[in-house]
């Protein structure tokens, strides 16, 4: 076989191999990234993210209402205390009033 054919085939092979390497490496990289995007944008993943957000919102609402409940309980205790005090005061005032009337 002629030398120039050998050289030509060898050069074409080396150049082709380099080009093929670059091309397929980039192609597979792009394909992998595309697959990743497809998975991220799929209905299942979006539904899952939506559910996660809803759970997060519900948890924050639950924590908020628990805090409110504690505050209200403290207020009720304060009010009950004040009512008892006022009841005693009213009793004393009524008694004093009756005594004053009798005089």
């Amino acid at each position: 076989m002629d030398s120039w054919i050998q050289i030509l085939v060898t050069v074409v092979t080396v150049a082709g191999s380099g080009a093929a390497f670059q091309f397929y490496t980039n192609r597979m990289k792009l394909k992998a990234e595309l697959d990743k995007d497809i998975v991220q944008n799929s209905d299942g993943v979006q539904y899952r993210d939506d559910l996660k957000n809803r759970v997060r919102n519900l948890e924050s609402l639950l924590a908020q209402s628990a805090d409110e409940k504690d505050e209200l309980r403290t207020k009720i205790l304060q009010l009950t205390e004040e009512v008892s005090t006022l009841r005693v005061k009213v009793e004393y005032l009524e008694k004093e009033n009756q005594l004053l009337k009798m005089r």
């Binding site: 076989m1 030398s3 054919i5 050998q6 050289i7 085939v9 060898t10 074409v12 092979t13 080396v14 082709g16 191999s17 380099g18 093929a20 390497f21 397929y24 490496t25 597979m28 990289k29 992998a32």
Partner: protein, 130 residues
Amino acid sequence: MTKLTSLLKKIREIYLYSDSQPTEITLGVCLSVLAPVVTTIEIGFMPIFLLFIMFTGVFQLYCVGNEDLKCRMRAATLSMSAYLAVFLMYVIKGTIFVSPTHWGWFVLAFSSWGVFKRLNTEFLHRQKRS
């Protein structure tokens, strides 16, 4: 039918994801030892081309031995091209239809292509992990 489908699926999975070092070694040895002898007997003495294919085979063995993934990928592409070049030499010589076994070079090129695909998948997975 279901069994056949699952079998084909399994074969595809093995082809795409299995470990390919033994195949790479076989391909490297074939290129560095078998290909020069066979092409010299069947096509003739081609010193430049023989040097190239022998270098490719040794390079592939070197990359496998070094466990360098990027180097192995390059070697797989180079060996695929080398096998295609051997096939091309038979085409140029006009002996491709003399014996069906001459198409074996094409099969080896396909095997190299499979190796390259598996290595590329492994490379992408490693990149994702790091």
